[in-house]
Each structure stands twice: as C-alpha cells, then as structure tokens.
C-alpha cells in the first residue's frame, strides 16, 4: 500500500466516524441542492445545455494546439505577456522572476486552484514575499495553514465559532457569532492589503482563444480588485481552460454558476484581455499569463479519458458524492478532491501511488449525472482501476480472482463451494466480529446474510421434478 493510500485510509477511518462532520457538511450542501435544482430548472433544457457544453469543450480540447496558439497570439497582440510552462517548477520560476524584476514586495491573490496545484504560495513565501489570499474562504484556510477543503467552498468544513476563534487569535478581533461581522473583519484587513499590493495573482475559469481573453468567475469582488489595483497582474491557468469563442461564455458562465454554487450567474464574471490600454483610466501596467501543462498532456494522451480535461472545476461532482461527504475534502490529500480529483490525480501524480482513490468509490455515478460538461467520471474510475491492475495487479486480488475463476467456470465446483459455505457458516458465529473473523471487514459494522438452506438452483431442480 502506498503512503498516500495508508494516509487516506487513516483519515477516512477518523472522519467517517465524526457524526458532527457528517451532519455539518450535509447541512451546508442542502441549500446548494435546492438552489441548483431551482436554477437548472429555469434552463429551457439543462440536458441540452450539457450536451452543447460537451460539444464545445470537445472541440476545444481536441484542437488544443490550434486554440492555444490562437489564444496566445491574440493575447500578445494586446500587450499581454504569455509564458508557456511545461511544469509547476517552470511556472513558479516564471512568477518569481516577474516579481523580482519588478521589485514586488506584497502579493494579493484571488482564488486559484491551479496555484494550489503548484504550491505557489510556499515558493513565494520562502523567498520572502508576503502573499495574501483574498477570497474569504481561502483567507480562512490560509490563516489555518491548511489546504482548501473544497475547490469552490474552501472553508465549508468550519463553523462560525471556529472562524471567530481563528480571527481572534490571528487578527486580534473581538469574538462574534455573526457571519456578517466576521466577513467585515476580513474585508477591513483585506482592503489594506489590496491597496498595498504590487502584484495580483489570479487564476482563470476560461481562456477565450478567439479574443485572447481570460474569464474569471467569482462572487466577492476580490478577483476584480486583484486584477484592477496592483501594478502587475499574473494569471495562472491550465492549458485545458480554452473555449473557442466569446459566445461560448453565454453558455458556460451560467452553467458554471448553477453547477458550482447554485446561482443563475455569480456576482462578477470578468473578462481581461490585456494590461491597461493607453486610453484607459487604470489597471495593471503589466499583464502576464502563465499557461501551465503540468501533466495535463498526459490526460490528453489518453483517448479514453481525454474528456477529463473538459472539467471546468465547478465542484458539482464533489457536492453530490457520498464518498466526499463522508470522508471530507482533506482526506484525499490532493489538490483536487472528490470524484474528478480521483480521476485526474493518478494521471497528474502517478497511478500506483494514487490508484486507491479510484478504488474508493462505490461507482454510484452521481458525479457523472451532476457534471455540467458530461465527463464520464465514474467510468473513468473503473478505467483507472483496470489500468492499475494491468500494470501491477494486487497480489491478493490475483489469488482471490484466480480462485473465483475456478469456482465460476464449473457449476459443479460452484455448488460444492456453496455446500462448504453452509458448513463454514455454522462455525462463523464463534468468531464473528473478532479479529479471527475472515469476514471482519463486513461484519464489524454489518450483519451477514445467511446462505439459504437450499439455493435457488436446488429449489428449481426440485420444482422441475
């Protein structure tokens, strides 16, 4: 068992027992389900929209080279600097270099999972830059020195009381149980940081190749400020973010809002197509786009799972996943938790170390139904399992299924197996639930159904006679 797998098992055992966590997460998501259903029902056809979204992303991803070149060409024509970074190290180096050359001291960030993926904050802080997350949820988890719990709702696992205690100890604020007061405490702190920052780092939700613009979706206005006030703006985005046309946003902005947050449209959807132009009042003098591969091309090279790159990081699959809801976002140990994370992490970080995530699913398929761009999520988990077993089967599974084949190929042996099982069953109560119980994985929490005195095939035979 790999180290990440052992850690997953350990944390899963812990969190699944935590009934407070279970009910808190369920309650947090109840409102989301209601709103998501309400707004998707307003679509003339949500299913038709999903089909079209799949088609558009299919076009974008399957002509990725064309769209990336077009995107970069259009962006550069408006004075944007485009940096192509094959891996996280190259991206980090690029951003550090921009910061150094421009004598940057303080950096403000708006929410970006891609920068989490390359551990950008650690690299910047290690070199003495002050880095502040401005999204409220991100700011809270940054103060706690922990990764986001969820890709859209980073602090959804925390109660207001915990946040009040955190602000009290980290910011010296007075304790309060009022979410509005807590939000205003963060707003005041952040206003100062915004005005002081030399550099703003954002992610992007979409990159429109037709116009060379990035699109950022948010609710708080922190991305607006991050991309407006500092003198340098750096946007970090994965190469899969492309959309061919501006018009495609007419579909994707509402779908992202509805799937991601249960909204018709989020508070701010901002397109940025360059640094401040000569006739404009304000805006950063420099705009850099960091295009990141970081093994996305490994997913691209898998013809079966290529559609995993359609992902718009809305988090809908996490919100409906019973595994996610029971083990929580941190248990995965990945930048991208939940079903889509379990699909792509083995590609991004190594199949043998991360295959356990694909096994840790009942394959219920709720994720696939929720996905606005129709990624075949739960079947990809199955394909990851196959790829892992093909390369390096687990020894005990090999033995188990070798025995299984012998039994299932011969109805005679199958019947014999049943008879032996009935004999074994008589002795099972002696060890049931104890360490000696070979079926302990089941019986520790669940009663075992008895084998019937006569099987159906025996009854069928008797009936025919």
């Amino acid at each position: 068992m790999s180290a990440p797998s052992r850690e997953f098992h350990r944390q899963a055992r812990q969190v699944t027992r935590d009934l407070n966590h279970r009910s808190f997460v369920q309650k947090a998501l109840d409102g989301y389900y209601r709103k998501r259903d309400e707004y998707s029902a307003r679509f003339r056809s949500w299913q038709g929209a999903r089909d079209l979204a799949f088609e558009i992303k299919f076009d974008a991803i399957n002509h990725l080279d064309h769209h990336l070149e077009e995107f970069a060409r259009k962006a550069e024509a408006r004075g944007t600097r485009v940096h192509w970074c094959p891996d996280g190290g190259a991206a980090t180096q690029t951003i550090l270099e921009i910061a150094r050359q421009n004598n940057v001291r303080s950096i403000i960030k708006s929410k970006s999972m891609t920068t989490e993926e390359i551990h950008l904050n650690d690299a910047l802080e290690a070199r003495g830059f002050g880095v502040f997350e401005s999204d409220l949820g991100e700011y809270i988890v940054q103060l706690r020195h922990e990764p986001p719990y969820h890709i859209v709702f980073p602090a959804m696992h925390l109660t207001r009381g915990q946040i009040s205690d955190l602000f009290q100890s980290e910011l010296g604020s007075a304790p309060t149980n009022d979410p509005e007061e807590l939000t205003m405490i963060a707003r005041r702190v952040m206003r100062k940081k915004f005005c002081e920052a030399d550099m703003g780092i954002s992610g992007a939700n979409f990159a429109v190749s037709e116009t060379g613009m990035i699109s950022i979706t948010e609710n708080e206005g922190n991305a607006r400020l991050t991309t407006s006030l500092p003198r340098i703006h750096v946007a970090v985005l994965g190469i899969e973010k492309v959309l061919p046309r501006m018009e495609d946003l007419a579909l994707f902005l509402p779908m992202l809002a509805t799937s991601g947050a249960g909204q018709a449209l989020t508070g701010y959807n901002t397109l940025i197509g360059g640094p401040r132009q000569s006739d404009e009042a304000d805006g950063p003098g420099q705009f850099h786009i960091v295009l990141l591969d970081n093994r996305r091309t490994v997913i691209l090279a898998d013809p079966e799972q290529r559609d995993a790159l359609h992902c718009i990081r809305c988090g809908a699959c996490l919100n409906v996943c019973p595994v996610f809801k029971n083990v929580g976002g941190h248990t995965y140990g990945t930048t991208y938790p939940g079903p889509i994370g379990s699909v792509i992490t083995p590609h991004l970080r190594g199949l043998q170390s991360w295959k356990h995530l694909s096994a840790a699913s009942s394959l219920c398929g709720a994720c696939t139904d929720a996905c606005p761009v129709k990624i075949d999520i739960h079947h990809h988990l199955l394909r990851n399992r196959r790829n892992a077993a093909r390369k390096k089967p687990v020894w005990w599974e090999r033995i188990l299924f070798a025995g299984y084949i012998v039994l299932m190929r011969s109805p005679r042996l199958y019947r014999l197996g049943l008879r032996l099982g009935r004999i074994g069953q008589k002795f099972h109560p002696l060890v049931e639930g104890t360490r000696l119980d070979p079926l302990r994985a089941w019986t520790a929490t669940r009663a075992l159904p008895p084998l019937a005195k006569t099987s159906f095939r025996e009854q069928w035979k008797a009936r025919r006679r």
Binding site: G31, L52, M184, R187, T211, Y268, E280, T297
Partner: protein, 230 residues
C-alpha cells in the same frame, strides 16, 4: 516527456499536445448533433420573454432577487432627484466623464458632494474613501439581471468595485435580452479592439464562505443601484 533544453516552453507544450492528439478521442459528441453552432446556446438557456416589457420585468425581478436596487425613472429630472436622494450624507463620489453623467455630476456638486474623476488617473486611497462610484454601462442583461461594465464605459476597472456603493445609470435601450445578445453587441461595438476589461456585475458583492450563509459586501460594493433612464 522533457524536451531537449533548447526547446522553448511553447514548443515543448505544443509538441506534447500534438503528440497526444494523434489518437482520436474515444468519447465523441452524439452523432446526431450538428457541427457547433454558437447561437444554439440560446435554445437551452432560460427563456427571457418576447417583448421589451417582459424583458424589463425579468431584469427587475432578477436584479431585485439578487438584492440590487432597481429604479425605473420616467424622466431625467426624476432620475436626478432619485440620485440626490441616495446621495444624502455622501461626502464624495467617484465618477467618469460621460455625457450621460454630466447632469448628475452637476446636481451632486450642487448638493455639496465632491467628485473624483477617474479618467486620466487618480489616487487609489482617494477612490477608496469615496461613498459611491457612479458609472454608465455597456448594457443590461434581462436573462440574468446583470450589468455589463467595461474599462471603457465605466471609468476604468476600479470605479465599479472599490467604492462601497455602485450606482449604474443606463438608458432603456441598453437592455438586452440575453447573454448571447451581449456578445453580439460587444463584437459589433469593439471588433478586435476590446477594452482590457469587461465585467458582468450581477448583484452586489457577496459571499457564502461562512457556513454557506449569504453576506453582502464581501470585498466589493455592499450596495448596487441601477437607475434606468427613459
């Protein structure tokens, strides 16, 4: 995977992409669906009503559901009074040069409100200290209750998001039915010369990051007022 050192990042990534795409994807769009037609999105998105009146009503309903303030004014003087009413207690506002805004600027100045124009540069702290930002917009969107601002139409990037209250002035003919129509408009208006920033503002700034409870005014304006002029 690593390319030879003389390759640029661009060559490396494009090389990987092209190599990866040599094998066609297994899952394809359903064969029945025709080639991608951008206007098809409209067929699936929420309905907006056929008449201007229906669309205006939808805009108001959507905007108000998002806790924006929407005021439809029958005349310019009514709109001027309306803004003056909102401005009670304001010391300074941020604005930009636009013919639509001129009478409003005069009225506010008469009421003793100091005006900071963002055109041609300003001090960030001064704008931060204003009581409101008053801007025009590119259009209003009935389908979503949104206002589209751009760095060209709305006094730059910060004016519509830094002050605690954003007041948008729009004329009735600026109302568009849906997002598809917006992109048709921006293409026609800007061609390849887009402003560096366009932003759909849909309600005041908000967050649900604490226990998924809605709080307005997370980082941007706590209030959004849309004044519709005849």
């Amino acid at each position: 995977m690593e390319g030879p050192p003389q390759m640029t990042g661009k060559e490396t990534i494009l090389g990987r992409v092209r190599e990866a795409l040599r094998m066609p994807a297994v899952r394809k769009p359903a064969p029945s669906s025709a080639a991608h037609k951008p206007h098809e999105a409209r067929e699936w998105l929420p309905a907006v009503g056929d008449t201007f009146a229906a669309q205006l009503e939808l805009f108001q309903k959507n905007a108000e559901a998002l806790k924006a303030r929407f005021i439809s004014c029958a005349s310019l003087s009514e709109a001027l009074d309306c803004l003056a009413g909102l401005a009670a207690g304001w010391k300074s506002v941020g604005m930009h040069r636009a013919s639509l805004l001129e009478p409003f600027a005069t009225r506010l100045q008469d009421a003793g409100v100091r005006i900071l124009y963002t055109d041609g540069g300003y001090a960030m702290d001064d704008l931060e200290a204003t009581d409101a930002g008053v801007t025009t917009c590119e259009c209003l969107v009935a389908q979503t209750g949104s206002v589209l601002v751009t760095s060209a139409s709305s006094g730059g990037r910060a004016l519509s998001v830094l002050p605690p209250h954003h007041v948008v002035l729009a004329r009735r003919e600026q109302l568009l039915p849906d997002l598809t129509a917006v992109f048709e408009l921006t293409h026609a208006r800007f061609g390849s010369n887009f402003p560096s920033m366009l932003s759909f503002i849909t309600g005041p700034s908000r967050t649900g990051d604490i226990e998924r409870i809605l709080v307005l005014g997370a980082h941007g304006p706590k209030e959004l007022t849309i004044l519709l002029l005849p």
